[in-house]
């Protein structure tokens, strides 16, 4: 697991850049999928205390969507995308090209979110792979819709082995009036993080 407490600004910049390229690729993939222009903001890398993490997503009991992937091959770890409910609904509106829909997500929506989560995660993995030359394979997604605190306990626990903070890459995608804020937790294990830094020539 990456040692958040001892990250210097240089390493944070690298993670930000990885996030930036990954999100750029993700936005391109998303745009070609829905045949529309998708804008994105420069990702925001945030290092949060455990107790702050849930508040970013509207509080511990707020309903959110989590999409979780396992990473294997040269880099071992996990990736977790978290969307708040508004973002998830906007996301399905974007995908199905429909006007405002405020009702709860149905099976079809969930399946679509999970699929697109897969495309976004692959975009990040591919950017990282092409920057580092490391082979990175992601698993099929596992999705959970539940309390923010409960879903975020998964990355928090993984970071908990080495730190009292978690690192999150926040990206905002925008298509027409549909704003989607995606929060990405990239969770390589410690030796894999070293491997990434070495591959990038910063270790």
């Amino acid at each position: 697991m990456l040692d958040v407490e001892n990250l210097n600004h240089f390493m944070i910049d690298i993670l930000k850049e990885l996030g930036n390229i990954g999100a750029g690729n993700a936005a391109t993939a998303l745009a070609s999928l829905i045949s529309k222009k998708v804008n994105m903001d420069v990702p925001n890398v945030r290092i949060l205390e455990f107790k702050e993490v849930a508040s970013v997503l509207g509080g511990e009991e707020n309903l959110v969507v989590g999409i979780y992937f396992e990473i294997t091959e040269d880099v071992i770890g996990n990736m977790l995308f978290v969307l708040d409910m508004d973002s998830a609904i906007n996301f399905t509106n974007m995908l199905f090209n429909r006007e405002k829909k405020d009702k709860e997500l149905d099976e079809m929506d969930i399946s679509a979110i999970s699929e697109v989560g897969n495309i976004l995660a692959s975009s990040y993995a591919n950017s990282l792979s092409s920057l580092t030359g490391l082979k990175i394979v992601i698993s099929i997604p596992s999705i959970s819709i539940d309390m923010a605190g409960a879903i975020l306990s998964v990355p928090a626990i993984q970071y908990g082995h080495v730190a009292d903070h978690a690192l999150m890459i926040e990206t905002i995608f925008e298509e027409n009036q549909n704003l989607v804020t995606g929060n990405l937790f990239f969770l390589p294990n410690l030796s894999s993080f070293d491997k990434i830094l070495t591959a990038l020539g910063v270790n």
Binding site: E61, E70, S144, L152, S153, V154, I157, H161, A163
Partner: protein, 162 residues
């Protein structure tokens, strides 16, 4: 007297006396361990993240681990008038939020947290009177220091008092 509900965060603990309440919100794979002394009406809650402080270098925060968290909670309760021999425990959480076929130990952390909690309670001779653990969903809990009842709330999996 006004009843206060004291919030306990992740890797955190707190204690109180009747009539106040302790709560922790959105437990996932973490475990909420509540201890109660019904004679002196003293209640305590710790929200642990990991099973054992011995497996980890970064172990200063005692409330993060089942082993040191429970010990610390007992001490804190004794300080405000609890008697160790009266303590009974109720626990909740330890879910597995995401499912994979592979044998990923990280995902089974909820189960390991529950096991480690039970072992530590046994070691300290604290009786576990009830639990609501496992599954694949989050839980919010509220401990009432008047009678030691533990209220468990979920999204889509009902609510109950254990």
């Amino acid at each position: 007297m006004e009843v206060n509900t004291i919030k306990v965060g992740m890797a955190d603990l707190n204690v109180t006396k009747a009539p106040h309440q302790l709560t922790t919100l959105g437990l996932g794979s973490c475990v909420g361990i509540t201890l109660y002394d019904g004679v002196n009406k003293v209640a305590g809650l710790v929200h642990i993240m990991l099973p054992s402080s011995k497996e980890i270098k970064n172990n200063q925060n005692k409330a993060k681990f089942a082993d040191t968290g429970i010990e610390e909670l007992v001490k804190s309760m004794e300080k405000i008038g609890a008697d160790r021999k009266n303590l009974v425990a109720k626990i909740a959480g330890g879910a597995q939020m995401f499912n994979f076929n592979s044998n990923n130990q990280m995902l089974k952390i909820g189960e390991r947290n529950v096991l480690a909690t039970k072992e530590k309670l046994k070691e300290l001779n604290i009786r576990l009177v009830s639990e609501d653990t496992g599954g694949n969903f989050g839980r919010t809990i509220v401990l009432d220091s008047i009678d030691g009842s533990l209220y468990v709330r979920t999204i889509g999996h009902g609510e109950k008092i254990i």
